[in-house]
Point group: C2
Chain length 207, copies 2
């Protein structure tokens, strides 16, 4: 269990916590941090002087993309903790007593609830990464061209964040009994992965 | 200029520093951190009980892979700072006086030296990511199968780290006048990218 927020830790201590044999923070939290770094790079590039936005409309569009990336970076940062906490709830549910039928039923219900939350967290990471990539097209097209490699690194990090989160959605989905929810989420993850690939390609062509 | 090491900062403050319009930390440092997270995930998985290594030889191989990933994670962590510092040296060199011929010559020499260091840092990030991916094949094959998604996220992060660093190598290489060095590095980055793709595929097939 974490006594402090993972994001209050120093980078050194966060990496040490990843490396430790404790189950959290693991792949889910690191994927969220990769996404947060990608969105932060876009926010940085959007805020640089000497952008390619010259009309008032484009200047406003670039500023809006930067502001949105800042908000998404904060959301992804919060998901670093949320992902680990959700996984800790799953482990806590598995540790519930199961001696009698009533306990078994309560435990199963708790596991299913916790698994839903542990699936929703990386699904939200995927969503935020795809959203940031959409803004990233604006940033890569209109931002200061001398920061083009920073924007391109942003797409790499968002790709790792989204696909890393997807691996966690899928593994948790395997334990969820609500077939309708499973099917809905499977559709969403495919759509989000497609969206990111589309935006990444658009940014490459535009910049 | 950074007054403290970037890795002594909290995750929150590190992300804020990325987001700020200051040129460092930028894509290079975030790529190094992505790589450090990937290597750390492998070290974590290698250290988990219930591995698939049963013979003494395999147990030793998995432990060695874990130890190597721990060392590579530390190296990548150090590169978070080294990349930003190298870029600050480039900017400092560009600010040198250039009023007379002697100053011009000294400035050009300083820029070339700083550019070399700023190319070597992300090149070392690429090397460390490729090395970690090689160890990751052992980890993904022999580590506890219930942590397979953590190992797979590790490969995503190392891929983003290596390709993100590559973007920085390439952009700096464009300013380097030593043709022999440029050619040598171009060969190395191709080889490192191929190595990572090969290891990633091998891990997917083995796990």
């Amino acid at each position: 269990m974490e006594s402090v927020s993972l994001t209050d830790k120093s980078v050194t201590d966060f990496l040490a916590a990843v490396r430790s044999p404790e189950p959290t923070p693991g792949g889910g939290s690191t994927a969220a941090l990769a996404g947060a770094m990608g969105a932060s790079l876009f926010a940085m590039v959007a805020g640089l002087p000497k952008s390619r936005a010259t009309t008032a409309e484009d200047i406003a569009r670039l500023a809006a993309a930067g502001a949105r990336c800042t908000a998404l970076a904060d959301e992804l940062k919060a998901l670093i903790d949320r992902d680990s906490e959700a996984y800790q709830q799953v482990m806590a549910a598995y540790r519930l007593p199961k001696a009698v039928d009533e306990e078994k039923a309560a435990r199963t219900k708790a596991i299913q609830l916790a698994m839903r939350a542990a699936t929703d967290a990386p699904l939200d990471v995927m969503r935020a990464c795809a959203d940031a990539a959409e803004q990233g097209v604006v940033v890569a097209t209109m931002g200061n061209p001398s920061a083009s490699s920073d924007a391109a690194v942003g797409f790499e990090l968002l790709g790792a964040g989204l696909r890393g989160a997807k691996l966690n959605v899928e593994i948790n989905l395997g334990s969820i009994k609500d077939g309708e929810y499973v099917k809905k989420v499977q559709g969403q993850i495919e759509e989000l992965e497609r969206a990111l690939a589309h935006e990444t390609k658009a940014a490459r062509q535009a910049s």
